[in-house]
Each structure stands twice: as C-alpha cells, then as structure tokens.
C-alpha cells in the first residue's frame, strides 16, 4: 500500500513537471523597438527581463532598428502577413496606421485609472479620431540646451527666452570668439529636421494644414519658421554642418564643447551633463525652446512615441500585458534619467526629480506646449517634401517661399 501511494505521488510529481515544463514560455511575443534616443537598448532589455521574470509563460523576443527604419519595417512586416506583436510607433504614424488597420484599437482596455493618471498631452500620441491605438511610452519634446560656462564667459546672465534673443546671444558668443558656430541643430534630410522646423512653426504660431487638410505651411508661421532657419544658417551663427546632422551628431558637437546652444530631445540632458564621455558635464543648462514675442511664450514639438499591438498579432492579451508593464509608473520612474514618465504624479517623486530639477522645470512648460506635426495618412510624403524644402533653402538653391510652395505641391495632399 505504501508503495502504491508512493508511486502515485511519484507519478503525480512527474505529471506536474511534465505539465509545467511546456507551460513555461508558452506565448512568444515579438517586439520592435528603436535603437536611439530615449531609453537605451540595454534599458529596454532590462525592463523586458523583469517582465519575463514576472510572467514566465511569456517569452518576449526583442528587435531594435534605427528610428529611420521603424516605420517602414512595421509596415513591411504587416504587408507580408505580420511578424511583430508589439511595435513602437511615433506620434505622426497613428493616422496612417489607422487607415491601413496596422494597429489594434485598444480603447476598451484603457482603464479609468490610466486615463486619469497619465498626462493629457501624452494621450494625443496614441489617439486618432477619438480611438486609442496603444499606450504612450516616451514623452518627449525638443528643449534648448545651453552651455552655462560659455554663457557666463560671454557675460550673459540668462538663457534666451525668445528666438531673437537666441540670435543676439549667439552673436555675442561668436564675436567674443568663445565658440565659432554657437548653435547646433539636426537638419539632415530626415525626420529630425522636421522636428526642429515644427518647433519653430509652433513658435511662430503657424499651421501645417488648413481646415480642409490642404497645405498651409507656405505662408505665415510656416514660412517664417523656414526663414528663421535660413537666416540663422547664413549668418554663421548655426553650425553649417547642421544640414547633415542627426540628433546624435548634435549631442557629440554639444558635449565636445563646440556649441553653446543645441536643440535636442530629453535624453541629451543626462548624457551631456553627467555622461563619462562628455566634456561639458556639470555645465549643461536646459530650458524650453524659446518663443516669439507676441506669439508664443515657449515652443515645442510633440515627439512622443507609443507602444501598440499589431492587428496581425495572435497574442493580443499577452501583448497588452507587456505594454501595460513597460508603460507602468513603477518601470518608468526607475528609468526617468533618459526619458520622462507619462504619469503626472511621477513629477512629485524625488527619485524622478533628483539631479534633474532643471529638466523637470523645462519639461513642465515644454510638454504643455507640445505642437503636433500634421495628422494625415500621407504624412511620410509630406515630411519627405518638407525635408527637401529645408535642405534646398539651406543650400541656397531656392528661396524659402519657392521651396515651401514646391513642397506643398509634392506633398501628396
């Protein structure tokens, strides 16, 4: 009898191990992220490890591409029948994704606690036509970074509050020989240039499209923004290599002490101010991008990104669990040095604010002023046309007016 019981126990034990073994990692998720700015690749891997530890039945396979390849990779995978369950997407893509049914509508899954806890501005990142296509994850805008030491050397007390002031201060720095080209931007033929341009459009209170969805950037604020870029470039106050810079080039130039001012995303603050390879550590100041007298106090572009579930995913529930974890306040607060949390109450926590009080102060104003790039399913074409317009203007091939008129014609709208 004893033997009988023992063998039953043994069988039960064996049975349970046999059952639990395949239960491990029974769901496989493929997730697509980008390998630049905001959270680093290592951060994302670490967060994901923690998620998999808490959910041993889910195995998340990560893939990283440069930002420049994120959109096309997502769309291509979709066109060939899927492959990814969770994708990172930029604020400008939901319109096109919604039109083509790339992402799952998750409006029903968003709880009231999420709705009230997350900053209102962050939600615009994932919304289209009143529907939610994911959770906001990276809450970002471009700030004006400045080198405190250089400004002090030039006898400048406070960083610029208007774009005109920026020019005046840059001029002083250049004339005193403190820095050859005081301002660095990311004006390469890429989306980065559009982000800088949008910041200026918001400062000049311009608009991209009119109420019928037709181009409106050729006049008013849109034109003034490009004129500002051209004059800053032609005056030599802007580093002429800006026209081939992406964000990382701007960071390199700034943290090597070769620029007094730079427009860049949140992530540059801690890397330049506390990074081991930074020559300007401890000297970095940050303020919201300036405004234009009579038109705006500050300016900002909505450069936020969200996490969504593709419509080809077969594991929507597991994918949502993963997204909820990645965007949770607890996880975001732990990595607040490279990307600020989407949660309103995080900004009162010392673990988030300590050591980056200046950035938080700038974020308070900047994030509230975030200006959207145009919401249209044809965004990629519009952006490509504007990128060329900016480059042609900087190269002196054409006037800002003609460049923007041509862009309006080639925008596909």
């Amino acid at each position: 009898m004893k033997l009988f019981i023992r063998s039953i126990l043994a069988a039960a034990a064996m049975g349970s191990t046999m059952l639990s073994a395949p239960a491990l990692a029974e769901t496989k998720l493929n997730a697509l992220f980008m390998a630049q700015a905001a959270y680093s690749e290592n951060d994302v891997r670490e967060m994901t490890q923690r998620f998999m530890k808490a959910n041993p039945d889910i195995d998340v396979n990560l893939e990283f591409v440069p930002y420049e390849g994120l959109h096309d990779k997502t769309v291509l995978a979709q066109g060939s029948g899927g492959g990814y369950d969770v994708v990172l997407f930029d604020v400008i893509w939901p319109a096109g994704y919604a039109e083509n049914g790339v992402l799952v509508d998750v409006s029903d899954r968003i709880t009231d606690a999420m709705k009230s806890g997350v900053l209102p501005g962050a939600w615009t990142t994932v919304q289209n036509d009143g529907k939610f296509y994911g959770m906001p994850w990276i809450l970002d805008t471009k700030y004006l970074f400045y080198n405190k030491e250089m400004l002090k050397q030039a006898g400048i007390d406070a960083p610029p509050a208007t774009w005109d002031e920026l020019n005046e201060q840059a001029k002083i720095l250049k004339e005193k020989g403190i820095v050859e080209h005081p301002i660095a931007w990311s004006w390469a033929q890429a989306e980065a240039a559009i982000c800088d341009y949008t910041t200026l459009v918001s400062a000049y209170d311009g608009s991209f499209l009119d109420s019928d969805g037709k181009p409106a950037f050729q006049a008013g604020g849109g034109l003034e923004a490009l004129q500002y870029m051209a004059s800053s470039y032609n005056s030599g106050l802007t580093n002429p290599n800006s026209k081939e810079f992406l964000e990382e080039d701007v960071r390199n130039v700034f943290q090597n002490g070769e620029a007094a001012f730079a427009l860049n995303w949140t992530y540059m603050y801690n890397l330049a101010n506390a990074g081991e390879d930074s020559k300007v550590a401890g000297k970095v100041g940050v303020v919201p991008a300036p405004g234009i007298e009579g038109k705006s106090e500050v300016s900002a572009v909505n450069g936020s990104m969200g996490l969504g579930i593709t419509s080809t995913s077969k594991n929507v529930d597991a994918a949502w669990n993963y997204i909820v974890f990645m965007t949770s306040q607890e996880v975001q607060d732990g990595y607040a040095k490279l990307s600020l949390p989407i949660w309103a109450s995080s900004y009162e926590k010392p673990e988030v604010t300590n050591g980056q009080e200046e950035l938080i102060a700038a974020a308070e104003k900047g994030l509230a002023a975030m200006y959207p790039r145009p919401t249209t399913p044809r965004y990629q074409e519009l952006s490509a046309a504007l990128q060329v317009a900016i480059q042609e203007t900087l190269l002196g091939q054409t006037s800002p007016e003609d460049a923007l008129n041509a862009a309006a014609e080639n925008s596909g709208l």
């Binding site: 066109g79 039109e99 033929q189 890429a190 290599n241 026209k243 080039d249 390199n252 990629q380 490509a384």
Partner: protein, 294 residues
C-alpha cells in the same frame, strides 16, 4: 544515345531547379508586372487596374529624370574609376617583388567587407567635425576650413563614388590579375626584345588578353552600380536635397515609405529594363570583340 534523347534527359534533370527558379524568381516577377498596372498600396485593400498610368507618370516626372541622371553619373564615375584603378593595381601586383603575396591577399579585403560596414567607415572619414579626411586636407594646407563633404550636393556624390570605388576596384583588380597570368611570357619577352615601350606593350600585347575578362567585370559592375542602394542609404539617405538619390532609393521610397506598391513596381520594372538593355548591349560588344579577336 541520340541527341533528342540527350536533350530530353537534360531537360528532365533540370526540371526540379527550373520549378524552384520559377517559384522564387518567375512568380514574383510576374506579380510585380501585374502590380505595376494597378494602384495597389502596400497594405490595405487591393488596388484597381490603372493601365499604363503608373509608367506614364513615372517617365514624365522630373524626379525620375533627375534620379536617372544621378544614377548614371554614379555608375559611370564609380565603374570608370574602378576599371582604371583595378587594372593599374593588377599590373602592379603582377610584377615580381618582395611581399607581393601579402598585398595580393590584402587586395581582397575591401571587396570582402560588407557594404554597410564600408559605408559607415567612409561616413566617419567624411565626418564634417571629426573626420580623417578633414584632418588630412587641413594639415596638408589644401583647405583652411573643415568641409561638409556629405552635406554639399556637389561633393556628396563624388564622396559616394570614391567610397564605392574603394570597395569595388579590388574585384576588377582580381579579375584583371587573373587575366594577366594568362599572358604568355614569350610574347612579353619578345616585345621587349623588339623594343616596345611600356605603353606600347600594354596597348598591343597585354590589353588584348585583358579585354575579355575586363568586359565581364565591366558588365557586372555597371549592373550593380545602376542598382546601387545600400552605400547611398547608409551614407546620405539620398540627401542633401535629394542630390544623391538613386533609382533604387526612389523605388524604395515610392513602394515602402510612401506605400504606393503599384507605382513602385512600375518604377522597379523600368530600372530592370534599363539594366537588361545595358547587359544586352555589353553582351553584343563582348561577342563582337571575341569575334574580331578570332
């Protein structure tokens, strides 16, 4: 065995391969042709038949003509340089000198390097702030200021041509070197005795042996240069102001970034047709050259 049966057997034995080829090459090609007559988008509903509209719009658009011009300059420039440098390098490496084997082995390195790695390295060399090229030209006093090599339309295309040449001249050199081994020593020796100078020897003795293999290298390289995508994509993404946008980049943009699969397909087929025409022209040239040599 009669000829007919031999032919039949040959076809039978090739059938598995032909089926695979049809499945992986033939079917996508036919589907691309079908796509090119529609306004299909990359994702979403299938498109409508639009006849030749895609072709008409592409062939008359200024961006196609500009891109064709850019691609032609790139192809002629890089292939031309590669042929000249390749032959010169082969002639040098055909000489007997100490360390020749090592140099011959090194020759294959640029060609063996993945294009993306090569492009990234050249991007660093051309970097406007910290690049080696800027250090070189300023230290030699050729320029007082650092240049934005990839930021100016004029220099960007030349910079790309140089980067591509560095990688691919070694293929030409290898082919030419192999051909040089075929030149009989007696003939070169005889021409020396006859008092032919180095140029005359190259023109009348060596070149006839090189012509055939070089023609093959020329065909391969021209076709590849016409299809160039990766090196441009990594180094300039078609910028500044679209001055380095090649045909393949235009296809990519049209089909994938803008998601117009239909018109992207038509453009891809136009490029295919152009490359095929080039290949045909070369083949005829090679046959003619071979015919006259015999």
């Amino acid at each position: 065995m009669s000829g007919d049966r031999l032919t039949l057997r040959a076809w039978l034995m090739m059938t598995p391969l032909l089926v695979v080829m049809l499945a992986v090459v033939g079917w996508p090609l036919i589907d691309t042709v079908r796509l090119s007559f529609t306004d299909t988008r990359l994702i979403g509903a299938s498109g409508n038949w639009v006849g030749l509209e895609n072709y008409a719009r592409m062939l008359t658009s200024s961006r196609f003509l500009e891109t064709l011009k850019t691609t032609t300059i790139f192809a002629v420039g890089s292939v031309g340089l590669e042929m000249v440098l390749g032959v010169l390098a082969a002639l040098l490496l055909n000489q007997a000198f100490y360390g020749r084997t090592l140099l011959r082995a090194l020759l294959i390195l640029p060609w063996a390097l993945p294009t993306v790695v090569n492009a990234t390295l050249w991007r660093l060399i051309y970097n406007p702030q910290y690049g080696a090229l800027n250090a070189l030209v300023t230290q030699f006093g050729l320029s007082a200021e650092y240049q934005s090599w990839l930021g100016e339309p004029g220099s960007a295309l030349i910079a790309l041509i140089i980067a591509d040449t560095w990688k691919n001249f070694s293929l030409v050199a290898l082919i030419a070197l192999a051909a040089l081994q075929m030149v009989p020593r007696e003939i070169t020796a005889a021409s020396l005795v006859d008092g032919a100078g180095p140029l005359a020897r190259f023109r009348h003795v060596i070149l006839p042996y090189l012509a055939g293999p070089l023609m093959v290298a020329l065909v391969l390289r021209t076709i590849e240069a016409f299809k160039v995508f990766d090196i441009v994509w990594v180094m300039t993404r078609g910028g500044p102001a679209n001055s380095t946008r090649t045909l393949s980049i235009l296809v990519y943009q049209e089909a994938f970034s803008f998601q117009r699969a239909g018109s992207g397909a038509s453009l891809a087929l136009i490029v295919t047709l152009l490359v095929t025409l080039l290949a045909c022209a070369y083949t005829i040239l090679i046959r003619k050259a071979a015919g006259s040599a015999n």
